[in-house]
C-alpha cells in the first residue's frame, strides 16, 4: 500500500499573482488534510510576504500565451503589453477568486500561518535584494539558507512552484 503524504515543503519562486497562488492553495490544502506544510519563498516569490508589496501582486500578461479575453477568445500576446492590461487581468482574476472563496494574499498567508503552516524567506534572495526581517509580514517565521530549508524538509515532499 502506498504511504499517505505527511509533510510538504513548497517553494514559491514567482511573484506574479498566478505565480504565488498555487503554492498558497497547496499549502493551505495540505493543512486542511492534516499534512504538515512549510512554505519557502525565494526570488520574486518573496513579494508575497513583503509587507508593503503583498497586497499589490498582479497577473503577468506579457509573454503569457495562454491568456484569454473575457468570453474565452485567445488574446494575442502583444496585447498583454498594453498599459493597464495587467491591472485589468488582475482585477478580473481577484473577482473570480473571491467568488470561489479564495482569500486575498495577506489573508491567505494569515490563514496558513494560523493553521500551523510555517513560512520562510530565502536568505540568498534577502541578501541580494538588501531586505531585512523588518520588511516581511509578521507571519514569516525566519530567514533561512537553502541548507536549513533542506533540514526543515526532512521527510517532506518538496514541491517547486
Amino acid at each position: 500500500m502506498s504511504q499517505p503524504i505527511e509533510k510538504v515543503s513548497i517553494v514559491v519562486s514567482r511573484g506574479s499573482l498566478e505565480g504565488v497562488y498555487p503554492g498558497l492553495i497547496m499549502a493551505n490544502g495540505a493543512r486542511m488534510e492534516g499534512i504538515e506544510a512549510t512554505l519557502f519563498f525565494t526570488f520574486f516569490g518573496l513579494d508575497a510576504i513583503i509587507e508593503n508589496r503583498m497586497d499589490g501582486l498582479s497577473v503577468a500578461t506579457v509573454g503569457n500565451s495562454a491568456m484569454r479575453m473575457p468570453g474565452g477568445l485567445k488574446m494575442p500576446t502583444i496585447l498583454g503589453a498594453i498599459p493597464g492590461m495587467s491591472k485589468f487581468a488582475t482585477v478580473m482574476m481577484k473577482k473570480e477568486m473571491e467568488k470561489i472563496d479564495i482569500p486575498p494574499v495577506r489573508e491567505f498567508i494569515e490563514m496558513i500561518s494560523d493553521a500551523g503552516g510555517e513560512l520562510y524567506a530565502c536568505k540568498a534572495t534577502v541578501d541580494m535584494f538588501h531586505l531585512t526581517k523588518k520588511d516581511f509580514c509578521p507571519q514569516v517565521n525566519d530567514i533561512i539558507s537553502v541548507g536549513q530549508f533542506y533540514e526543515k524538509s526532512a521527510g517532506a515532499q518538496i514541491i517547486f512552484t
Binding site: 492553495i25 486542511m32 492534516g34 472563496d101 482569500p103 490563514m111
Partner: protein, 105 residues
C-alpha cells in the same frame, strides 16, 4: 460502501467512511464518530462548528470552506485546528454526518 454498527444502530457509510444518509445523524452518533477521530470530549465549541456545518450543508448542498466557516461561525482558524487536529474540514464534516467537503479552500 460499508455498514457499521454504532450505538446499536446499523449505519451505511460512503466510500470515504462518512455517513451516507444525512438523516441517520444524531448527537450520539456524532460523539461516536468524534471518538473514532481522536476527539474524546465534544465541547460547546465543537458543537458550534458542527451545527454551523450542518446548517450550511442543508442550505447550500456542500460543507462550507474553512474560510467561510471561520468567518461566520465565530471559531477562528487557530481554534478550529485546535478543536479538530489533523484535518479540520474533513474531520468536522465526518462528525457532522456530512460527505467529505468538495472545495479546495
Amino acid at each position: 460502501m460499508e455498514t457499521v454498527e454504532i450505538v446499536g444502530r446499523k449505519l451505511e457509510l460512503d466510500d470515504d467512511g462518512h455517513l451516507k444518509n444525512l438523516n441517520d445523524w444524531d448527537k450520539e452518533i456524532a460523539q461516536e464518530f468524534a471518538k473514532l477521530e481522536g476527539i474524546d470530549a465534544m465541547t460547546d465549541r465543537h458543537w458550534l462548528v458542527i451545527d454551523y456545518m450542518r446548517k450550511e450543508f442543508k442550505e447550500k448542498g456542500d460543507a462550507p470552506s474553512i474560510r467561510k466557516l471561520t468567518k461566520e461561525s465565530g471559531v477562528d482558524t487557530k481554534e478550529l485546528y485546535a478543536l479538530f487536529p489533523k484535518g479540520p474540514a474533513k474531520k468536522a464534516a465526518k462528525i457532522a454526518g456530512l460527505p467529505k467537503p468538495k472545495g479546495c479552500i
